[in-house]
């Protein structure tokens, strides 16, 4: 990873609240997936969420853009309260970008069309302008030359970078990453992480579910550990990795760092 990266503390975090989650609960049927989640994210924060599988970390960030419905408590994104009102949900979704584990690019559209679709139809940007924006972000993720290809012709790492560019084209104020590197071959993980680091340096508010602990150390200003639907521990990365408090965190870290 690039050496010019500023340490997490140097990157600016403002006092402005971007996301505030209060006493949020979610059930799948009778199964209590998320229990009393309280989380406030300030603008410019880079938060890494980790935890064993089934701990609810993906569900948590999917609640933030209403891909999953929560049943109790409140979620406020950029001052908009997330309710079942479709207009509210669409507004929040167009402000919050999301990257998925399996990229979820649209296979019937070219890379450029993937990137211009939402700006044209949601933001009503003129086509030409949308294409300029798309090329700008494709250059940023370093694949402008693939713009006319279809997703199926690209490698996994390239597809994930396109997915990031696609989200950025909506000019989101917050980015959610749901295990963006878990479906990638090891040599492609770096290119995606580099893109994410660059994004962090520019001050993007990011919530990232990942097991890339190097990335967490380097970029995050806060690491959250979840287990059984609860936030068990959160701390600055140095403290979190060097001096974990809860025994469950200690066990988890020893399992993922110990090999």
């Amino acid at each position: 990873m690039t050496e010019a990266v500023k340490s997490p503390a140097q990157m600016t975090v403002s006092d402005e609240v971007a996301i505030s989650i209060h006493k949020m609960n979610k059930w799948y049927g009778t199964f209590h997936v998320l229990r009393d989640i309280d989380l406030t994210v300030n603008r410019g924060e880079r938060i890494v969420i980790c935890g064993p599988s089934g701990s609810g970390k993906s569900t948590l960030i999917r609640c933030i853009n209403a891909l999953e419905e929560h049943q109790k408590g409140t979620i406020e994104v950029d001052g908009t309260l997330l309710s079942s009102d479709l207009k509210n949900i669409d507004k929040i979704r167009s402000e919050v970008g999301m990257c998925f584990q399996h990229f979820n690019l649209f296979p019937h559209l070219t890379i450029l069309e993937n990137c211009t679709l939402a700006p044209i139809w949601v933001r009503k940007t003129p086509k030409k302008e949308a294409e300029e924006i798309a090329m700008h972000f494709l250059e940023k993720v370093k694949i402008p030359d693939q713009a006319d290809k279809y997703p199926g012709q690209l490698s996994g790492g390239q597809q994930q970078r396109v997915a990031i560019a696609r989200s950025l084209c909506m000019r989101p104020r917050i980015m959610l990453f749901d295990e963006p590197t878990s479906a990638l071959d090891p040599e492609m993980i770096k290119e995606v992480l580099d893109t994410m680091i660059e994004l962090a340096e520019e001050g993007m508010t990011m919530l990232c579910v990942t097991h890339e602990m190097g990335f967490a150390r380097q970029v995050a200003n806060r690491v959250i550990f979840m287990d059984q639907g609860q936030i068990v521990e959160q701390n600055e990365p140095e403290e979190f990795f060097n001096n974990p408090q809860s025994p469950r965190t200690q066990l988890f870290l020893s399992q993922i760092l110990g090999h």
């Binding site: 998925f100 649209f106 019937h108 939402a118 949601v122 279809y150 199926g152």
Partner: protein
């Protein structure tokens, strides 16, 4: 010194061998024949048997085709000309081609009208079928149904104009109201169109005199292959959008819409088409207001469309189910609303998967239009079974007439099939 140094282990080649032809048995037609026709004794035996079968079939069919009589006024005259030799009596096609194509009641002076509509149909269908063509051609496609109606049925030009205006008004009302809510736009659009049609109906009654530019032809005078083609085209093009709506309805999270779709699909699929056609011809009148006289053609179109849209809905549901959940989530996460997500992301992919199934149903539907002959509509088969075979001149000419009918249907169905294969190749973008 020898060329290859064969006696030593060290080896250096000093000359290049000239390129040689493969042996005779290994090239050209010998190779092909040996590998494909006479590879093993069993294979050779099958080849010989196949050749014999081809000979038998051709020796029966070729004289019948080549020796056929094309000019005669009746079957007995055909037999006189043939004088005991084998030969088809194709004179019936020459004598009755107008009835086979247009039915026996369509005024012969007006044949140019359906013929022109047929030609224009290809202009209208082209931009829908081949999307590389300029999109502006779709304007003609939108006008075509009204133009074709006027050409085929004739009568006052105001009728299709009022119908068209109704659609335009309905759309404008929809576009105006949909920004507030979809349901409001939907029902507002329908109401606006209905009001336009009712007012237009009075204007048509009031204005139209006995004379009109094109002579009016009632639906019961339509017939022949024209009827099959009209039913096929109308029902296929109506049942695809209805099928999509039903498939989406069946997936809906709104219980009312979901259950209406499910009940409709399951009921229609559980009933034979011929039953529905009898309902259309006899019983449907009970469901309309007592003094209304809904056209038989329209009733049949409604029934066939309902029937095939239920099947198409199930095919499309399969396509929708084949899409990964991530596609819906990605569309949602970008802030696309339901209509945009369906139109831009989900349906293009689901329909592509469904193409073979939809085409299967379209081909079946087109052939099923011959079933209308049992409710005394004189389509191609109805014409053959009825007026032509019943006439004293041509009683007994089965092979020629039914072979001709089969040929007409085969041409269209094979065309549809070839088109769908081209379309699948054209749309294959994901695995290149």
């Amino acid at each position: 010194m020898s060329d290859t140094h064969a006696e030593s282990i060290r080896f250096v080649r000093e000359t290049t061998l000239p390129q040689a032809e493969p042996p005779v048995a290994e090239r050209g037609i010998y190779k092909w024949g040996r590998e494909n026709l006479f590879a093993t004794p069993g294979n050779a035996l099958l080849t010989l048997i196949a050749l014999y079968v081809i000979y038998v079939v051709l020796s029966a069919v070729l004289p019948w085709l080549l020796n056929g009589v094309w000019n005669a006024s009746s079957l007995s005259e055909c037999r006189e000309i043939l004088a005991g030799e084998t030969g088809g009596c194709f004179a019936v096609l020459v004598d009755r081609w107008q009835q086979l194509l247009f039915g026996f009641k369509y005024p012969s002076a007006e044949y140019w009208r359906p013929a022109l509509a047929f030609v224009l149909f290809f202009v209208a269908a082209a931009p829908v079928l081949f999307f590389d063509l300029p999109r502006k051609m779709l304007a003609f496609t939108a006008l075509f149904p009204f133009l074709a109606y006027w050409l085929i049925w004739g009568g006052p030009v105001l009728v299709p104009v009022v119908a068209l205006v109704g659609f335009v008004v309905g759309y404008l009302a929809y576009a105006k109201l949909v920004t507030r809510s979809f349901a409001g736009g939907f029902f507002g659009g329908i109401a606006a169109a209905a009001v336009t049609w009712i007012i237009g109906g009075f204007i048509v009654d009031w204005l139209s005199g006995p004379s009109s530019l094109l002579r009016a032809v009632p639906s019961r005078d339509l017939g022949g292959y024209m009827l099959n083609f009209m039913l096929g085209v109308t029902c296929v093009s109506l049942s695809v959008p209805f099928g999509i709506a039903l498939a989406l309805g069946r997936q809906s999270s709104m219980p009312l819409i979901k259950w209406v779709s499910v009940v409709f699909i399951e009921f229609i699929r559980g009933v034979p088409l011929i039953t529905l056609l009898f309902v259309a011809s006899v019983m449907l009148a009970y469901f309309f207001p007592p003094d209304s006289n809904v056209d038989l053609f329209l009733r049949v179109v409604i029934m066939i469309t309902m029937f095939s849209s239920a099947y198409i809905a199930e095919v499309i549901r399969g396509g929708l189910a084949a899409l990964p959940k991530g596609q819906y989530e990605a569309a949602d996460s970008l802030g696309l609303d339901y209509a945009q997500a369906m139109r831009l992301i989900i349906l293009p992919q689901a329909l592509k998967i469904s193409i073979p199934g939809i085409v299967n149903i379209a081909v079946g539907l087109f052939k099923d239009t011959t079933l209308v002959s049992v409710i005394s509509m004189f389509d191609l088969v109805g014409m053959i079974r009825g007026p032509i075979l019943a006439s004293t001149d041509w009683n007994g000419v089965y092979w020629e007439l039914l072979g001709f009918a089969a040929l007409l249907f085969f041409v269209v169905c094979y065309g549809i099939s070839q088109y769908s294969q081209w379309l699948e190749r054209r749309l294959a973008t994901d695995h290149r």
